[in-house]
């Protein structure tokens, strides 16, 4: 099944390579990987989606912790969470088609962010399912180009996500002296 990890890493050169290399080295296929800044300077957050079972997920998590720049790993697969994907879709839209496409954009609560005589660029944010669905309905009009960010995810509620399965790690994390910089103010 698809497992979603939130990985906090030091924002240093080569960290993405270290994380990606671990997945390759341990023969896990990355379905999607995003990375960006967090609310804490010097800390980046990756959202990585991997197709593996529960044992694979545990093993991956343990291996990620062995990477020195990795500060925290949360498997948020089983945690109530919000997952979003962003897509830019360039669609051929001439004549009547243009009206139809604009109607579909309304239905999907997407936005048109660029207009040219032959095409429209549509921006949409949502679950991967919703975006897949929008792409499908746009496809007959001619999808010229598309780019998607891949999944970003966050646990619901005030408390930052923790690994669900192992309480000991949770307790250790809450007490750890160096955890403050990534664990947020709600712990």
């Amino acid at each position: 099944m698809l497992q979603t990890f939130a990985i906090y890493v030091e924002n240093k050169p080569g960290v993405l390579n270290r994380v990606a290399s671990l997945f390759r080295r341990r023969a896990f296929n990355i379905e999607s990987l995003t990375v960006g800044h967090t609310e804490h300077p010097g800390v980046s957050r990756m959202t990585v989606v991997v197709d593996t079972d529960e044992y694979g997920a545990r093993r991956l998590e343990a291996n990620l912790y062995k990477l020195v720049p990795v500060q925290r790993v949360d498997n948020i697969t089983a945690v109530p969470s919000i997952a979003r994907d962003l897509a830019l879709i360039k669609v051929a839209a001439i004549g009547d088609a243009r009206t139809h496409v604009m109607q579909l954009v309304d239905v999907y609560r997407a936005r048109i962010v660029d207009v040219s005589p032959e095409s429209l660029v549509i921006e949409t944010t949502g679950t991967e399912d919703k975006i897949d669905s929008l792409v499908e309905v746009l496809r007959p009009y001619g999808v010229i180009e598309m780019v998607r960010t891949g999944r970003v995810a966050m646990a619901r509620g005030a408390v930052p996500a923790r690994r669900g399965a192992d309480g000991s790690r949770l307790a250790a994390a809450a007490e750890g002296p160096d955890r403050g910089d990534v664990s947020g103010d709600a712990v």
């Binding site: 050169p13 080569g14 390579n17 270290r18 290399s21 671990l22 080295r25 044992y55 545990r58 093993r59 343990a62 291996n63 912790y65 062995k66 990477l67 020195v68 990795v70 500060q71 925290r72 192992d166 309480g167 000991s168 790690r169 250790a172 994390a173 750890g176 002296p177 160096d178 955890r179």
Partner: protein, 568 residues
């Protein structure tokens, strides 16, 4: 205090307690070498950078201290790759320092530039590209902390030439490592310990599987205490040899592919496996689908990633072994397990101890004889460093190690050419130890230029070449699994005695059983390094053997007429 990056490097090494480094100079590391002359650190000049890494590894394994290897950029650094991978697989703490081209040249394909941090990323615990003098001290501090902590392993520091040359103020206190909590030793849950203790107290046929982690954790006494208190027999992995004395009545011997038959049978018949600091390598489990099916399993390893990796266990504890065992010993109850122990004794049957001393001398020189003689003649007190192959397995079977860290061997990576340089490192770490290399004629030829290092450094290392004119273990697989088609396994070699003499060692060739003792004794009396070329039976075979991927209890047993008699 203002120092150059190169000076900071050596000062940092001194502060880590480093007294010896193994290295080879070159352009990009020259500033560091120039600064070295001002510091009281012994530098051992190697003949190939692979040798430097194996020496640092042997040094670390013999002493428990971090071994240090140093090389230049480009080929100097790439030559280290095999040694780094070897140290990674066998959890050996080494720090490798490489020079790198100037930071402004990085990425330009400059002369002797190579992306060694990229290359070694999957075979180091961590690595650093250091591009400023100010980063040298903190990087060295972190590198040593990482190499030593948790499950030990190699760390590489790639330091650009300009970082070595530039000067900066050093604040040693500020160089304190800032490793995150995730880097610290993992904490087990208390519940796990209670579950483990309940399983141990309730088991009828428990078996301890003792690995390298027993020694890395310094838990030798605790393992023996557990075994003795609860009357639990122990089996050891290849790298676990020495963690428990070979002659301990509860030590059954080595498990796995070339382990004793009764050990593997006991594993298959146990109702509880207590795996301590070992990682269920495929060479010890055989076919996982049929491995110890009747046994509950407890696994203690400091590396959380090893738990439930190959074998699914009932209780997995990520912990330092010694502290886990200390906790268990408070709650484990003395239990009579004589029925189980008697049963294992009966499994031994007439193959309990192959007393090969009593075999008639049929005019052939067998490797097992040589190694068994070496054990007797050195009273089991030598620090033996083996290469990889048949002789390695015979050593494990016939040299009875009583002390921790008295066998150094490349287990996980199986690196041929390991023995000679690793033995040099061991001798530098333990100058008072009687160090013996046991190597095949194939592996020995991979790193034999290090003989010159032995002589230049005036080291007294003894070398036993088990010379059968074949790449013996590969030949054995060809014999069993490839219908004796000996593709590329017959191997010639130099006259090893002349070679030894050419390098400045004492040398002798032996091809008769009767001459083994005199050669070994004479070698031991030499004040300098000695080499004995044991010209052994060419097509000899290591028994028993579990073929790769086969069920653990389905061993290829030793055929007659090689008789096994119970003795000792």
């Amino acid at each position: 205090m203002t120092l150059t990056g190169a000076q900071i490097l050596w000062e940092s090494l001194l502060r880590e307690g480093v007294t010896d480094v193994f290295g080879y100079p070159g352009g990009a590391i020259l500033p560091a070498y120039d600064a070295m002359l001002g510091y009281p650190i012994r530098h051992i000049l190697v003949r190939h950078e692979q040798g430097a890494t194996h020496m640092a590894d042997g040094y670390a394994r013999a002493s428990g201290r971090v071994g240090v290897a140093i090389a230049t950029s480009g080929p100097g650094s790439t030559n280290m790759v095999t040694g780094i991978a070897t140290a990674m697989m066998d959890s050996s703490p080494i720090v490798c320092i490489t020079g790198q081209v100037g930071s402004r040249l990085i990425g330009s394909d400059a002369f002797q530039e190579t992306d060694i941090t990229g290359i070694t990323l999957p075979i180091t615990k961590h690595n650093y590209l250091v591009t400023s003098a100010a980063d040298v001290a903190p990087s060295v501090r972190e590198a040593f902390a990482i190499a030593r902590s948790g499950r030990p392993g190699p760390v590489l520091l790639d330091i650009t030439k300009d970082a070595q040359q530039a000067s900066c103020e050093v604040d040693w206190d500020a160089a304190e490592p800032h490793l995150t909590e995730a880097q610290d030793d993992a904490l087990p849950g208390d519940g796990d310990h209670r579950d483990a203790i309940a399983l141990i107290n309730g088991a009828e046929r428990p078996l301890i599987l003792a690995g390298h982690g027993v020694m890395l954790s310094g838990a030798e006494q605790e393992v023996i205490a557990l075994a003795e208190r609860a009357r639990i027999p122990m089996a050891v992995t290849l790298l676990g040899i020495g963690g428990v004395p070979a002659n301990h009545p509860l030590n059954l011997g080595m498990m796995g592919m070339h382990g004793e038959a009764w050990v593997n049978t006991a594993i298959q018949e146990a109702d509880l496996l207590i795996a301590l600091g070992m990682r269920f390598d495929d060479r010890v489990t055989g076919n996982l689908k049929t491995y110890a099916l009747g046994a509950r399993k407890i696994h203690v390893d400091i590396d959380r990633a090893e738990l439930n990796k190959n074998v699914r266990v009932d209780v997995a504890i990520a912990s330092d072994l010694r502290s886990a065992l200390t906790e268990w010993l408070r709650h484990v109850t003395p239990t009579d397990r004589s029925a189980w122990l008697t049963h294992i004794d009966s499994l031994k049957g007439d193959s309990a101890v192959r007393d090969i001393q009593n075999l008639p001398d049929d005019g052939h020189l067998y490797a097992a004889h040589v190694i068994n003689d070496l054990w007797r003649l050195t009273a089991g007190n030598a620090l033996v460093v083996t290469d990889v192959g048949q002789h390695q397995m015979w050593e494990a079977q016939y040299y009875k190690h009583q002390r921790p860290r008295s066998l150094i061997t490349s287990g996980g990576l199986g690196t041929m050419g390991f023995a000679l340089p690793a033995a040099i490192g061991a001798k530098v770490a333990c100058p008072d130890a009687e160090v013996w290399v046991v190597a095949g004629d194939g592996g020995f030829q991979m790193t034999m230029p290090e003989l010159a290092t032995i002589v230049q450094e005036g080291l007294d290392v003894n070398i036993a070449i088990i010379n059968n004119g074949y790449l013996g273990m590969v030949r054995q697989w060809q014999e069993f699994f490839y219908e004796r088609r000996y593709a590329a396994t017959p191997i010639s070699g130099p006259d090893f005695v002349k070679l030894a003499e050419a390098f400045g060692l004492w040398g002798r060739a032996v091809d008769r059983r009767a001459d083994v003792a005199d050669a070994v004794n004479t070698a031991r009396r030499q004040a300098r390094a000695a080499l004995i070329d044991f010209r052994v039976e060419q097509e000899d075979t290591v028994y028993p053997m579990v073929p790769a991927g086969a069920d653990l209890h389905k061993m290829i047993r030793r055929p007659s007429p090689i008789v096994e008699t119970a003795a000792d």
